[in-house]
Symmetry: C2
Subunit: 358 residues, 2 copies
């Protein structure tokens, strides 16, 4: 803390030129004599001079910073997205301002005034160039009026890209997650293995990700079998919830032959509960998941799941946002993204049952 960064003025003085000329070499303007350019560059280098982004932002109106709003950065789904966005953003010379709204996860906070709305204020203050919303309030089926106005106001000043399901009345750009396709894929896999008695576990009830998936699940299941509402247990997205779901099904004595879990964590919790009741997957029950997390291939049993290609999602989101940064007012067509991909491992019991066809 003894040192301080020099200013362009001091660089100019030490190089014996004007501020303007230094600015020119900083911005690679061609109209500077080689002699002075070299001298200036030498001085810059000697003093480890870094131009102040703050001052630059002052005039350019750009902070080269993007905000990410995520509800729970301890959840692998979000960190996967965040790390991918961060990577690509850095390559395009943008930094990431991270806001963890804690509106999901172990340490979830319930307040009457949404944390997210107050986060919007901070973001406005910070004058980021663009904003990603990865989940949280935006996923609720019943958006509050105040949240909606706050979000639309935000979006009217700074472009917002939401990774999630489209919501009526929200003006932001949505990157759709193709939620239905993934569940359909994996439920179909269970069906094609011969399972008919299939339930669904995990996911918060009034959240779009959950409701959309459950809806798609019921649709496909009802084509081949009947839906038993009792074996659809919605609580939350974590291991404890898979555990609780299994416990409930067993206690009520309605454990089905197969289950679709919201994600790998829920599946993990389910495995644990089964073990505690001396049952095992896939012998006694098949369990698959809609959302792959990093260690699926190391769990016992290895989890049959759907790889949602979140990396790819992040890429599309960033491209979209960068687009809006420059070319205001024009809407791009939906960009391509990889479709969810079924990854067959052990927990579906495909090895045991062995390819019954539909």
């Amino acid at each position: 803390m003894t040192h301080k960064n020099l200013t362009i003025k001091e660089i100019a003085q030490r190089s014996g030129v004007s501020i303007s000329t230094v600015s020119r070499v900083l911005n690679n303007s061609p109209s500077v004599s080689n002699e002075k350019r070299e001298k200036i560059q030498a001085v810059i280098h000697e003093n480890d001079y870094q131009p102040s982004m703050v001052a630059r932002s002052m005039v350019s109106k750009r902070t080269h910073t993007l905000a990410i709003i995520a509800p729970d950065i301890n959840n692998p789904y979000f960190t996967d997205l965040i790390s991918e966005i961060e990577l690509i953003a850095n390559q395009s010379n943008y930094s990431i301002l991270l806001f963890n709204t804690m509106s999901a996860g172990n340490r979830k906070v319930e307040t009457k005034d949404s944390i997210e709305i107050s986060v919007f204020k901070s973001i406005l203050e910070k004058q980021v160039d663009g904003i990603f919303i990865l989940g949280g309030d935006i996923d609720k089926e019943d958006l509050s009026e105040s949240y909606l106005t706050a979000l639309n106001h935000l979006n009217s000043i700074i472009p917002v890209v939401v990774i999630g399901q489209y919501q009526n009345g929200v003006n932001c750009h949505f990157i759709d997650r193709n939620l239905k396709y993934g569940v359909t894929l994996i439920t179909q896999h269970l069906l094609s293995l011969g399972y008919r008695d299939i339930g669904f576990i995990g996911g918060e009830p009034k959240i779009k990700i959950t409701t959309e998936r459950v809806k798609a699940f019921k649709e496909i299941l009802s084509l081949y079998s009947s839906v038993n509402e009792e074996t659809i247990i919605l609580n939350d997205y974590y291991a404890k919830d898979g555990y609780q779901a299994i416990k409930l099904l067993i206690e009520k004595n309605i454990l089905p032959k197969a289950l679709v879990a919201m994600n790998d964590q829920v599946a993990l919790g389910a495995f644990r509960a089964l073990n505690d009741y001396h049952l095992s997957c896939p012998e006694d029950i098949a369990i698959v998941s809609c959302d792959a997390f990093p260690d699926a291939d190391f769990q016992t049993p290895r989890i049959t799941n759907v790889n949602q290609h979140n990396h790819d999602l992040a890429q599309v989101a960033l491209t979209t946002l960068l687009f809006y940064l420059d070319t205001t007012e024009i809407l791009p067509e939906n960009m391509s993204q990889h479709l969810p991909e079924l990854v067959i491992r052990e927990s579906c019991g495909s090895k045991n049952i062995g390819g019954l066809k539909l």
Copy 2:
């Protein structure tokens, strides 16, 4: 993007006062007549006016932003720290600029010029008020000369707090992790259960976290038994590495009776490998871990491990950094933090062996 944020000038005009007066109400200066204050506040509210942090930073030299440099935000250890730091920082009105250096993890990048050094430059540019380094290059046993100068230069301008082991020649403030204590604790537990043939798996070889732990492991083990270097397998911090380690030990036919794993992920990978060889934990071998990750209690077997109380670490780190922000030049005494805590579950086999004492 149709709207734009007003400036203080426009607020002043619409309120019929000078810029200075508006600035006074923004900063709660007492010397403003009630009449004008109310008028101005009304105008501010009507227009959703947010003062520009950029302009404020320009004059105050403070951005109210802290940077976090982490090597792999897909690793629960880091997200745990990040989310805790973010939470407390927000409460103190600081925002978090996140830099993921990808110097660890699945997508690790190797370059001749350290990514971290280039991150230092971005950070300098952004003029954050303080910096956290959570891991990465700083943990290397042999720090490169260029990294060291870059880091010390950075720290001479912006205060840096490192969560990690002290390094000679680095001037930053270090928050020590008490690494030794945790391994000692858990190794002692194995010893007290009667195990003598104990190995160690996981962790990158030339990284301080690893070397410190292995050293402590050897120290305590050698008091009661002999150390077999062959059963110490250092590769990396992830599930694949636990898997690989077990595979190696089995192939060389030197699988010990118990293993200390670097962290829960390594343990998970080890469980998986055992299963593939039709062995099981803890019946055939006990496996415990030095670093707890969220789902330890849902794995099969439930993992006996050490809770390092990382939350607490984050708290200390933030307090330290905030201290340096205001009171330059003075060193605070080490703040208290929770000691690592042994959590006995199943994977140590304590239930089977049942309390042999040392």
